[in-house]
Every structure is written in C-alpha cells, then in structure tokens.
C-alpha cells in the first residue's frame, strides 16, 4: 500500500520477473545481447539514484525481489510474467522453480503465471494442462518473438495458438499477457503489429488480452483495436518510466490510453527487474497532465487507484481490503475533453 495526501493506494505490480542472465546461464551471444538490451533500457530510463550495477542486474534472487517489491516498493501483490528464452539461456531466462517456490511461500503476495509456446503443438498442449494444475494458473505470458529451432516467432491467430487458447478457456486460464517482439514469420510484415491480438480477442471474448507495453512501439495500432475489443487491456510496463525522462510524452501516452480504452483497462507494472516499483509508484501518484495539454483531462485520484492496483486486482480476483476499494458511487468513466 502507498499513502499520499490522505489517500491510500492498493498496489498490484502486474508484470514482474525473477530472471537469471548471469554468464554461466547464457547459452550463446544472444543471451548477453538480450540482457544488455534490458540493461540499456534500465540505464536510459531510470533516475540516476535508482540505477543498478550491471552485476546486480544479471540476477536478483528471491530475497532481493521481496525487498524491492514489498518492503521498499509499496507493492501489495505482484504477478510473475516469465519469458522462457530457451534459445538464449541454458536454464531459461525466467526462473520457473525459484519463482513458483516463492509464490507458493507467499501466496498472499505473489501469483505465478507461466508461459507456453504453441509451436510445441500437442506436446506443449499436454504440458500446459499439467502446468495449469501444478501452478494453479490464472494467466499466461506469451512472448511472440521467442526463438525456437529455426523459427523466431509466432502469431496469436496461428491455428495451434487457437488450440492453446481453447485449452485456456477450459482450464480457467483467463488472462493472456502478450509481449510482441521484433520477429515473426515471414519477416515481410511489421512484427509489432497487433492485428493478431485483434483476431484472437474477437474469437475468445471470455479471455482477457493484456498487451504489455501498451502496444509500444505501435501505440496507435493497439489503441485502435482496444477501442473495439472490450477484452483488450493495456499493461504499462516500459511506458511508465517515461514519467521521469519524458513526462510530456508519458502524459500523451496515458492521455491516449484513457481516450481510446478507459480507466478500467490499464494496469500498472514496473516490469521488475527492468525497473523497481518504488519510484514509479511515488512518481505516478504525483503525476499530472500538464495544464497546457488541453486535449487531455487531468488524471483523477480514482483513476490512479484503478491503474495502480484495482484493475489488476479485479482481473486476478485479489482480496482488496475494503478501505482500499473505491466507493461504489465513484463515477466509473471520465470523459476526455
């Protein structure tokens, strides 16, 4: 919980990872390139006081994660969204066993989502059923640019992906978190395009599709489909640190999201360990649309409460203390000027 100016905020960090990118876990040069890319994101967008050393960045471990999120970071509940990246890391990038053990130890604080890869076809589908039971899955994280053999990506409207979504419906896995990456087959088209999310969301209306990074670098494509598909949501990972380096740009992103979606379909996340939640929560609660940007309405406290935690809490049926909920009479939709 975070408190400021007499208001209390229930915080859900909807996208966190427990990764291991240390050299001994790197399978090849791409393992190093991948974590270096993350580290540059971290260095580029973090305030100087929040920057980690490269060594710290390679691996955090459970204790450090608990401290950064729950002791220092105001987070009430966090959701693991692992990327496997088996083509880059010996034991995968997201540490399944370690993260699941931590979530089992702290079920009030952590939810473990797992990942699947539709290119594993039937074997992967059987594995998904076992994983759903073992982990008690409510959600999955899909990275569409995951490399596997000679394939470097897949789409959500591929026939096998649809079979996995059908299994998700049956298994009660309602929340599909999507991270688009730079490669699909064929490479002819824009890999970041979210048209495949549109198709899947239309065909699986009882599943929630949370597009991480709110579709960046294709905010426009994302907004366009999200305005038409009520089960498409925006994750703020990667977008939210722009509050610090580029507050006017962030104001436009959040302004556009509130215009095209609504305040019930936007979720906060730090993308830990890309960034840490403490400064992001503090800065977001203080954040306001600049006055001269008259095309956007000012952010309300109720909108901030929803974005910082109540929206994801509703999606994951988290038990929010009564005093941290919004009163029922609070207006649900705020028109954008």
């Amino acid at each position: 919980m975070y408190s400021k100016d007499g208001e209390n905020y229930y915080i859900v960090d909807a996208h966190v990872a427990l990764w291991d990118a240390r050299p001994e876990n790197q399978l090849n040069i791409h393992g190093k390139q991948f974590i270096d890319c993350f580290y540059d994101y971290h260095r580029n967008l973090s305030p100087e006081s929040e920057r980690w050393t490269y060594e710290e960045y390679l691996y955090q471990g459970g204790e450090r994660l608990l401290k950064d999120l729950f002791t220092d970071g105001y987070v009430d509940h966090a959701i693991f969204q692992p990327a496997h990246l088996g083509a880059f890391y010996r034991n995968g990038f997201g540490q399944t066993e370690e993260a699941f053990a931590l979530a089992s130890e702290h079920p009030d604080k952590l939810t473990y989502n797992h990942c699947f890869d539709p290119r594993l076809e039937q074997a992967g589908l059987d594995q998904l059923r076992r994983d759903a039971e073992r982990f008690g899955l409510k959600g999955v994280k899909l990275y569409t640019a995951e490399w596997r053999g000679d394939s470097r990506g897949y789409k959500l409207d591929d026939p096998w992906t649809y079979r996995y979504f059908e299994a998700c419906q049956e298994l009660g896995i309602r929340n599909i978190h999507i991270h688009k990456g730079p490669t699909i087959r064929p490479l002819d088209r824009d890999a970041f395009d979210v048209a495949d999310v549109d198709k899947a969301a239309t065909d699986f209306t009882d599943l929630n599709f949370v597009v991480e990074h709110c579709g960046l670098p294709r905010l426009e494509d994302f907004c366009w489909i999200a305005t038409q598909e009520p089960n498409v949501h925006a994750g703020l990972a990667v977008a939210i640190p722009f509050m610090h380096t580029r507050p006017r740009y962030f104001a436009q992103i959040i302004g556009e999201l509130l215009y095209w979606l609504d305040e019930d379909r936007i979720q906060f996340s730090s993308d830990y360990a890309l960034w840490t939640p403490r400064w992001l929560v503090e800065m977001f609660v203080d954040f306001q649309i600049p006055e001269d940007m008259t095309e956007y309405a000012p952010l309300t406290v109720a909108q901030k409460k929803k974005i910082l935690g109540l929206n994801a809490a509703a999606m994951y049926d988290l038990d929010v203390p009564d005093e941290l909920r919004l009163p029922r009479e609070e207006p649900q939709a705020v028109a954008v000027a």
Binding site: R152, R189, D190, L219, H244, R248, E256
Partner: protein, 243 residues
C-alpha cells in the same frame, strides 16, 4: 573522385522507416571510410534486438544509395552488434537481396512493410500540420479541418515535409487538395474528422516517442554517438522539462 560529403549526402537519403528520419540524423552511421573507389560504412542501431527486417532495409538502402554514386566501384555496408549481423552482412556482401538473405524466414518482399510506414509517416505529418493550425486559431474547430486545403498551411519545413510524404505515396499535392485524407488521398466524411484526427495523433505520438527512445538508447549504448545525432526537430517533438 568520390568525396566524403557526397557519400554522406547519399546516406542522408536513407530513412529509418519506423522513425521517419534519415539514418545520418539518428546517429546510425558509425563510420564512413573512402579509399579511392572503395567505400566502407559501418551502421549501428540502438539495441541488438532492433527488428531485423528494418535493420536489413536500412542497410540495403544504404548500400544501394552509395553504389549509385559515380566513382563508388566497391561498396561495403556492415551492420555492427546486431543479433542478425552475421546473416545481414553476409547477405549484403553477396547482394543476395531480402529473400536471399533471410531464406525461409522471408515471404515475398518488404514492399508492404515500406508502404505501411510511409502511410504512417504521412498520417503523422498531417496531424502535425493540422494540430498546429488548431493551436494557432482557437476559433477553428476539429470538424472545420475537413475544409482545410494545402494552400491554407503556412510555408515552411513542416508543410514541405507533408508534401514530400504525400509525394512518396503518390498523393496529389496541388494547393486546392484537402489536407486530411486517408491513405489513398480521399477526404473523410465531415463527421469522422475528429476521430480521424485523434487516430492520426496516436500515430504521431508513437513515431515521436519511438524516435526519442531510440535516440536515447543509442546514446546509452554508444556514449560517443550523441555527437553524431542531429537535434530532435522542435516542430516534431513535444517539449520537455527533463531533457
């Protein structure tokens, strides 16, 4: 005799399709060496994981632009520090083309990808021009933008940029042409204008934001690259307190 300036000017015609800016202004040209009739260029990108199709487009466009110069008999373009450097550099050296470079990962060609981003660049330029008019004249409503023609736009780099992007799509550029048009040059119905402007704005925000982020990441990755980047265009970017 080929000069450094000529080669640099050729590279300046190569545009990052996603960011709609020349690779020279973005700082993507790491080095340019001329030895008689031999030109060697190294390119660098903000991350190892920048999309390989765009990386290939820029590198092959750079090679084509240099090879077209009189006096450039031997042109080598190399992409540094990318996850596909080996693949792309081999394809460029062999003049293998897109399909020859990416093999089974390629389908037809990258024409549609180019077209998609030319359209986005045009839509963003249109939004910049129209939003500027709106800000300058509080009496002007969004719906009024339906009647704005190219002749109504002030002279200057921004309008020239819009005309250039219309030209790239084969759209008409006469003074009486409406400014707010779809990808085929057709005006929208009056009642749709606010929505279309809004959508155009989301494209402009996306492009400007990506350009800013990519420039910043390049400087983080290659600390000396800032000196090679042109200032971000004032008209293109949102003002900021922090940078």
């Amino acid at each position: 005799m080929l000069t450094h300036d000529q080669a640099r000017a050729a590279l300046h015609t190569v545009v990052d399709p996603e960011l709609d800016e020349p690779i020279t202004d973005l700082g993507f040209v790491r080095s340019l060496e001329i030895d008689g009739t031999r030109v060697t260029v190294h390119l660098r990108l903000p991350t190892s994981f920048c999309a390989p199709n765009f990386a290939y487009l820029m590198a092959s466009d750079a090679k084509d632009a240099l090879a077209a110069l009189p006096g450039a008999d031997e042109v080598a373009v190399l992409l540094d520090d990318h996850h596909d450097s080996e693949l792309i550099n081999r394809g460029l050296a062999d003049d293998a083309g897109y399909r020859g470079t990416f093999g089974a990962e390629a389908g037809q060609d990258l024409d549609e990808l180019r077209l998609t981003f030319r359209r986005k660049a045009h839509t963003a330029a249109m939004e910049r021009a129209l939003t500027r008019l709106l800000r300058a004249d509080p009496e002007l409503s969004e719906t009024d933008l339906h009647d704005v023609t190219l002749a109504d736009l002030p002279e200057g780099a921004q309008t020239e940029g819009l005309l250039r992007r219309r030209g790239a799509l084969g759209l008409r550029t006469g003074p009486g042409e409406p400014v707010l048009v779809d990808d085929a040059g057709r005006p929208y119905p009056r009642e749709e204008v606010p929505l279309r402007l809004r959508f155009a704005r989301s494209i402009r925000i996306s492009i400007d934001g990506n350009a800013h982020f990519c420039r910043g990441l390049l400087r983080t990755r290659y600390p000396d690259s800032g000196a090679d980047q042109s200032p971000e265009h004032v008209s293109r970017t949102v003002r900021t307190n922090a940078s």
